[in-house]
Structures are given as C-alpha cells and as structure tokens.
Amino acid sequence: MSIRWHVFYLALIAVLLAALLWQGAKAQRVALEVEREIAAQALYQAIREAPGKYQLVDLRDALEFEDGHLPGAIRLDRGAAAKGASVDRYRRTVIVTEEGDRTLFEALAREFKLAANLQGGMMQWRMSRLPEVSGLTDVEGIRRGRPG
C-alpha cells in the first residue's frame, strides 16, 4: 500500500473520530441540562439501585443534619468552599438544603462539575416519607478515603 493510501486512511479516521467527539459533546450537554434538578423520589430510586452513583452534600446546620439526613450524605458548612473539603468535586453531586433553595444551590454548584439540586430539599424528602439516617457520621473515615 502506498504512502498516499496511508495518509487517506489516517485522514478518514481523523474525520470519523472528530465527528464522534462532536456527537459525544452534544449528548453530554443535553444530559447535563436535564440533571440540574432531581426529585426526591427519583433520587431515592437512584440511591437504592446504585448507592455510589451520587455524592450527597448537605448544607444544613450540624444539629439539623444529625437530626436526620439522607443516607450517605456529607455535611458541608454553608458558605464553605468545596475546595479543600472532604468532597469529590468531579462526581455527580446532589446538594441538599432545607427547602431546595435555588440561591444556596447556585452558590455552591459552581464548585462542582456536576451538581443537581434536590427539589424541595429536605422538606420534600420528609413529605415523601423517604428514609433518613440520624446521629453522628464517621467524619474521619470520610476524610481519609482509601488507599490504592
């Protein structure tokens, strides 16, 4: 096969890959638009099916949090930066507030790559009679992560 054919095939592959990437970027944009809001019932179903799918960040006070929070939620101080905290800024994250406050959500959502607001917040979660966890959480264990 001559060098011209090699170049032709390489160019063909490059064009196909570029088209694939373009399609992928479009698909991702659409998917991200949909996921800015999540309903309590849908979130509960998702957690039940795959516990690791979402990172749950709770912005309420420590006392409110310990009184009852979503299973596996991490508490973050309101106004605290996500950077440096024991959270994963690149994981799909659901931000939980008392009433699903948009302004509180927007303020923190900028620091996460993929953030969604829990519609109606903790109030809606409770009104839907979904299960809660209460008590202290193993903050040290969360902070450590796990090696290798």
Binding site: G24, V87, Y90, P147
Partner: protein
Amino acid sequence: MLLGVFAFDAVFPYLPEWGIRSYPQSMTLPVLLDVSYGALAVTLGVLLLLGVAFADVFDPGKRLDPPAAKRASLLKREWGFASAGVLAGLLLLAAPLQGQYLGISGGVAALTAYLAKPFGLSMNSVAMFDDTTAWRAAMVVGLFPGAAASALLSGSFGSAAVTPLWAAAFPSGLKSRAVAAFAGGFLIMLGALVGGGCTTGQFMSGFPTLSVGSFAMGMTFFAVGMATAHLLYWGRWRKLAEVRGRALDLATD
C-alpha cells in the same frame, strides 16, 4: 514491600498537610472535557491502536528479536500480551460486577492490616474493616496459588537465587541482587500507595475509567521505569535481547 506499607502508614496522616495527598477526586476526561464517556473511550481506543501499530512498524528493537518458532498449545507455555491481555480485560470487567476494582498495592495494605489485627496493631491508612478491604486482602492472598498454578502449567516453575536476566546483565552475586530487590520493593510500594495505586490499580483499572489522575500516574510509572531500565542496561542492548530471547519465550499470539 511490607516496609513500604508501614512507611506509608506512618506518613499517611501528614500527607494532606504536606500537600501531597487530598481527598480522592474522580476527575475523569469525560467530566473534564464535557464529552460523553462512550465517544471519548472509542476515540482514545482507536488512537491507542494506531499508536501501537505505528510503534510496531518503527520499533528499532524488532531486528534483535529471535525468529518466531512454532508455538505449543496455550495451556503449556507462557502467554504473550494478546492472550493474557484478553484475560486481564475480562478480569477488569468481572471486578466492578462485584462492586470492587483490581488493585494490588491497596490490597497489600489491606492484607497487612488484617495480619496486624491479631497483634493488636492498627493502621492509619486502612481505617475500616469492611467488605471492600476483605475482598482486596483476599485477592492478594489468591495471587500466590494463581501464580504457582500458572508457572506449573507453563512449565516455567523453578527457583533461582538470581534471575537469568539479572545475572546476564549484571554479573553479580546474590547480595547485590537482594539489596536491589529489597530497595526496589520498598520504593515501589511506598510510591504506589502515595500515588493512590500501582500499575494494576491505576493503569489497568484506572485507564478504562478515563481518570486523569490514573493517566498521570500510569505514564509517570512507565516513563520512570523506562528511564531506569535504560540507565541500568546502558550499552548492553544486544546482551539484554539475547537473554530475553532465551529466558522469556514470550509469544505474540
């Protein structure tokens, strides 16, 4: 390697303070570039295959390879990269089905924690004894019978104080070999744990997730490995190729 685990465990609580380790971030290329996983994975896969084809055409070491001989059945010899690669790929798929991932260095740390437990010792870096740590420790235990079975089947079972490759390139005694192996084991374990995984965890399990950290770690691992090998075997290429051809009859099936 055990010393490496203990050294890592001793410095583990201070790593975030020193700015070396932070809370693990799942920074992957699809998330970073806003492109769907499938499109990006296929693109990178095609580029990787093109790269391999390119390297195969222009590999300067090829002229030193021994001529291909007739191969025995797969069950009776050592495997090449293709057949072993397919099996490793299936294993990589099987681990997430159990909610886990393959990683040796973290597994060794988990196993060490289990071994230390009866003596009343605990580890900073392995905080919890849960299903994950048990799975990973058990996997490391399973490596030994697995490796023995593989060596017995391929007929390469044997014992040598100094491996043929080392003996040919460095005509030296057991002492220097032992020191080099000890220092190498310590460094690789400590480095892998600080970096969040070894070639198995970062390279094999991390690459398919398109994790940026795994790419950085995997490439550093291999770049430094190649540089070290070039330094050690500097000017001894022909000898190295001869020994490789004789001692490791690796097929390219």
